[in-house]
């Protein structure tokens, strides 16, 4: 459904993404991973039309994204970005904003259908009971659920998420990722998300895009991407990839600098002994 062809993108005159091409099929769960500054977030911002590509094309169902009316686009693609800090909003008011793309030109208030969509979204994400609370007084995990609820109120087919698990404790991380997996499986929602945590990416995504220096290093299933060669090449640090004993998915183990030195020292000794 989403197709990116030879995308070139950047801020001012400096190109950050060059010649990026990939495709996302309906119902897929895609993770974008890569080191800091590799262009992950820029890619997501290009997909959500915040920055104009300077070359190439992004198309949705074969139609150039730039040609689609913003309101219509917002009905099929919703975005959960980082660092939103809404003030003076209750949860219900905030989630209701997700219905804006459905409002007519001179319509100022929601219809019954809008109300239902808002409450369905709040129920799905489990924030129904928090409806009257103010967002600024909620914890990070609750807020993230509310942000996702707003995106769901848009009734999208594709949801783009920018590090939805950032700054959350492990319980909330799993909670959020389980929720997104459920939406993907039960409602056929197509998911594209930027992730920092390689293990979450390996655990939940069908397909991973490993981005490095503004271009795609490799695309494939988690098993194909999360191996020590590719990860070490792109991230420039030693890792060991094992298997998660519970799920059987690849699990990336970090190697601290000290251990690395010890290993090298041992290697030298061995070498000297020979």
């Amino acid at each position: 459904m989403l197709k990116v062809e030879n995308l070139i993108c950047g801020y001012e005159k400096k190109a950050i993404l060059s010649d990026v091409s990939f495709q996302v099929d309906k119902g897929e769960f895609v993770g974008i991973i890569g080191p800091n500054g590799s262009g992950k977030t820029t890619l997501l911002r290009a997909l959500s039309r915040i920055i104009e590509p300077s070359g190439g094309m992004i198309s949705l169902y074969g139609k150039d994204m730039r040609q689609i009316h913003p309101k219509l686009l917002a009905r099929s693609v919703s975005v959960v970005s980082q660092n939103i800090s809404p003030e003076n909003f209750t949860v219900e008011e905030f989630v209701s904003l997700g219905r804006l793309p459905y409002y007519g030109a001179f319509q100022f208030f929601g219809t019954k259908k809008d109300y239902q969509a808002v409450h369905a979204a709040m129920e799905l994400t489990g924030v129904e009971a928090l409806g009257e609370r103010f967002l600024e007084k909620m914890s990070g995990g609750e807020k993230q659920l509310v942000f996702i609820a707003r995106a769901l109120a848009q009734e999208p087919e594709l949801i783009l998420l920018d590090e939805p698990t950032a700054h959350l404790d492990i319980a909330h991380q799993v909670n959020i990722m389980d929720l997104i997996r459920k939406l993907n499986r039960d409602f056929g929602l197509t998911v594209v998300m930027v992730l920092h945590d390689l293990n979450l990416a390996g655990e939940y995504c069908h397909k991973l895009l490993l981005v490095n220096n503004g271009s795609i290093h490799k695309i494939g299933q988690p098993r194909e991407i999360l191996n020590y060669r590719d990860i070490e090449e792109v991230y420039g640090t030693r890792v060991v990839v094992v298997e998660n004993p519970v799920s059987g998915k690849p699990y990336v183990v970090l190697v601290p600098g000290e251990c690395r030195e010890e290993e090298q020292a041992q290697g030298h000794k061995k070498g000297g002994g020979n």
Binding site: R45, P70, A74, N88, E93, Y103, F108, T111, Y115
Partner: protein, 333 residues
């Protein structure tokens, strides 16, 4: 149904009642106190008595103008605070008011007002309009408005115009200087019915235009990018809202001078009471601005009657202390 509608109706009814009370209060008190009963009698008696003249030819026009100017300033404040997501922005921040003051000062120095009283607000409005165009051209490069640049440019233009006004004042004779100072201090004393009608009609028309963008403003309060994600055409909205807020500011400064504080304090206060939803906030701020200015103007008329205080003195002292009080109370809760 959307529960917001009930909220809106409730808030607006309360404010309409308050507006009525403020207007009646303002009709009754003054250097010549006229009891409420008498005001109603006069309404049916019609023309003829001095009391009628005081109530309907002197006090009533001031109330209308206070309503329109107060509403316009508060509305401009709400719009700009919403677009910039900055609680310190107010109608006078963008320099449009400076342009109006500059236009009026030039008019006073060259004594153009002697030909017709209408030229004074006209010059004010031309000055304001000139600044709007300058700001628009400075910030419209590549078809997008960079809000931070717009704000900085506006503040700089503000400084430039106030320096130019000072230059004009230093070069002018004492009598003109007084004229300029009094004009800048602001007053709702406007004898010309035509100007009052134009101000009322235009401010209400701009209220209607701004209301079309109330949902866009709600989306803007999450940030520009979030608004884009929700399908808002941000560039178009920003442009229209900037123009509406500038026209509102230019209009009120051209007619009534620089009445301070209404555009800063009223939006904050209304936000504290009704929350951040612009569907309620926009009309509620307009009405509250009107009520606040009518009330302050009445006080300005009576405190040292038969002399008059500049209304800006009252709005500043009353608005400022009220606001500090509300903030302190809110924090202690």
């Amino acid at each position: 149904m959307d529960r917001k509608i009930n909220r809106l109706v409730l808030v607006l009814s309360v404010l309409a009642a308050m507006l009525f009370c403020a207007a009646v209060f303002s009709l009754c008190v003054g250097s010549a106190g006229i009891p409420l009963k008498r005001v109603f009698q006069l309404f049916f008696e019609g023309r003829g008595s001095t009391e009628y003249n005081i109530v309907f030819d002197i006090r009533f026009p001031r109330i209308l103008l206070g309503f329109a100017v107060g509403g316009a300033l508060a509305l401009a404040g709400v719009i700009l605070q919403g677009v910039f997501r900055n609680p310190l922005v107010e109608p006078y921040t963008l320099g449009v008011s400076g342009g109006a003051a500059l236009g009026a000062s030039l008019n006073i120095v060259f004594k153009l007002y002697r030909s017709s009283v209408l030229t004074l607000p006209l010059f004010g409005f031309i000055g304001a309009f000139f600044i709007i165009i300058v700001l628009y051209l400075l910030n419209m490069r590549k078809g997008t408005i960079k809000l931070q640049w717009l704000l900085l440019n506006g503040v700089m233009i503000s400084f430039i115009s106030s320096s130019l006004i000072m230059l004009i004042m230093s070069l002018s004779r004492a009598e003109d200087m007084h004229g300029i100072i009094f004009w800048i201090m602001g007053s709702l004393d406007e004898p010309n019915w035509f100007i009052i009608k134009v101000t009322v009609v235009m401010s209400i028309a701009l209220l209607a235009v701004s209301y079309l963008f109330c949902l866009d403003l709600n989306a803007f309060s999450l940030g520009e990018e979030e608004a884009m994600h929700l399908g808002v055409r941000t560039e178009k909205s920003k442009r229209m809202l900037f123009i509406a807020a500038s026209l509102l500011t230019g209009l009120s400064v051209a007619v009534a001078g620089m009445i301070g504080f209404v555009g800063l304090v009223v939006p904050h206060f209304v936000k504290m009471l009704t929350g951040g939803d612009h569907r309620v906030l926009i009309p509620a701020s307009f009405l509250s601005g009107g009520i606040f200015l009518i009330f302050c103007d009445t006080l300005a008329r009576v405190v040292i009657a038969p002399m008059e205080l500049p209304v800006g003195v009252i709005t500043g002292i009353l608005g400022g202390s009220f606001f500090v009080y509300a903030l302190a109370k809110r924090r202690s809760v």
